[in-house]
Amino acid sequence: MNKANRSAESASVNLSELLARVDNDRALLCELLSIFKREFPDHLHALRNAVAGNDSAQAACISHTLKGMLANLAVAKAAASASRLERLARAGEISALGDALARFEKEVEGLLPEMDSYRAEARP
């Protein structure tokens, strides 16, 4: 994996931090990315539904999960957006959730293909 090039190209994942987090264990990295690929779309879908349904409690809960997931994968910017969503949802600021969600979706746009490419390269 060309770490230097990839880190420079992408603002999403801090690859060196992520590799340090898994102690350079490629099999584990691959496994974590698979979990992300499997679970992230469902969480995002559920978050959209919660925001659309003005369910701030559910939105807070899902944002919290997404925040943890993204932080663990060293996707700091998107994790910060998820954290903002969680704060707003907990504060019951329903009207602000739509914009915050849109911003979050923009942050994570392209994240799955990026993760896929890491996964393909990390596969033993």
């Binding site: 987090r21 898994v22 102690d23 264990d25 584990l28 496994e31 974590l32 979990i35 992300f36 679970e39 809960c61 919290h64 999960t65 925040k67 943890g68 997931m69 932080a71 663990n72 994968l73 060293a74 954290s83």
Partner: protein
């Protein structure tokens, strides 16, 4: 060392699991608080736990509160994993009974260092428990024979008598005294006497059931309580005890010594509601009768004619030994 990870999110759970397996921990993982409580309440459960703060059903602080309710269990060192960073949150977490907290995403080295702190505290607790158990043993057991000491065996007798009255059962009280033990001490010395007492205690324990009680009542006197003893088997059991002492000589530094024991037996169901000390006096009188009748025998205390069959014992020191 065993450790529990409770996190409803699969990704951090797997990352934690792998990190700790690499650090040689035996890891158990669960995905919610209820399962965490179940796991930590099992015998031989992990004593280190990493608990995610937010979990469905029961959250991390809820798990801490549940575990801390059960104080009889060994101490569990619990660390909350949280992305909450406000002082109020941290205070709430620690007030729930958590020992420490870590902010997610965790740093592996910091996590391991904090777990080592937990292990030090658990090790200290183990040493304290061990010291307490040693003190408890010393406070309740005779140091020479490791049988129950006089105070405890008397308490146990009181409790057993109340229980057998409540359940309309019968407790057999057997008071035994080694015959001519003074001669052993006078002839061979106290160290040999101690060897005899230890071996007698061992044989007494082997002669009774695991739920009977045997205590050292005095110098060479032993009090045995047979719980839920059918009345027709008490004398048989006492006879077995007598034979356990006299059948084989006791090996000592002075060579093999043949020892015998005299026994006074009393069945609580024969005596109605009488105080424990009164029953013990009657058992002692029966023991005295066994001594005067020639020793190495069993005599039973009967309420019908207690003073005819069993002479009044002489004061200590003037007793037939």
């Amino acid at each position: 060392m065993k450790i529990l990870i409770a996190d409803d999110d699969a990704l951090p759970r797997r990352l934690l699991e792998k990190t700790l397996q690499r650090a040689d921990y035996q890891v158990t993982t669960v995905a919610d608080g209820r399962h965490a409580v179940e796991c930590l309440s099992q015998p031989d459960a992990p004593r280190l736990a990493l608990l995610d703060w937010m979990m469905p059903g029961l959250d991390g602080p809820g798990v801490c509160r549940e575990i801390r309710k059960h104080r009889e269990q060994g101490y569990v060192y619990m660390i909350l994993l949280t992305s909450k960073e406000s002082k109020e949150d941290i205070v709430e977490g620690l007030e729930s009974g958590a020992d420490d907290y870590l902010v997610k995403p965790f740093d592996a080295e910091e996590l391991k260092a904090r777990l080592r702190t937990g292990e030090r505290i658990l090790h200290l607790e183990d040493r304290l428990v061990e010291a307490r158990e040693q003190m408890r043993f010393k406070a309740t057991h005779d140091p020479l024979t490791s049988l129950w000491n006089r105070g405890v065996i008397m308490d146990l007798m009181g409790r057993e008598l109340v229980r057998s009255q409540r359940e309309h059962g019968c407790t057999a009280i057997i008071l035994g005294d080694l015959d001519h033990f003074k001669n052993v001490n006078d002839t061979h010395g106290h160290l040999v006497g101690d060897q005899v007492l230890r071996e007698v205690a061992r044989r007494l324990l082997l002669s009774v059931r695991s739920y009977d009680f045997v205590g050292r009542y005095g110098g060479e006197e032993f009090l045995t309580l047979l719980n839920n003893c059918p009345p027709d088997s008490a004398l048989v059991r006492a006879e077995e005890i007598r034979k356990a002492i006299c059948t084989r000589p006791i090996q000592t530094d002075a060579g093999p010594l043949g020892m015998t024991i005299s026994l006074g037996v009393l069945l609580s169901c024969d005596w109605g509601h009488r105080p424990a000390d009164e029953l013990l006096r009657e058992a002692d009188a029966a023991l005295y009768a066994a001594k005067t009748a020639g020793r190495n025998r069993v005599m039973q205390a009967k309420p019908e004619e207690p003073r005819q069959r069993v002479p009044t014992p002489q004061p200590a020191g003037e007793r037939v030994r």
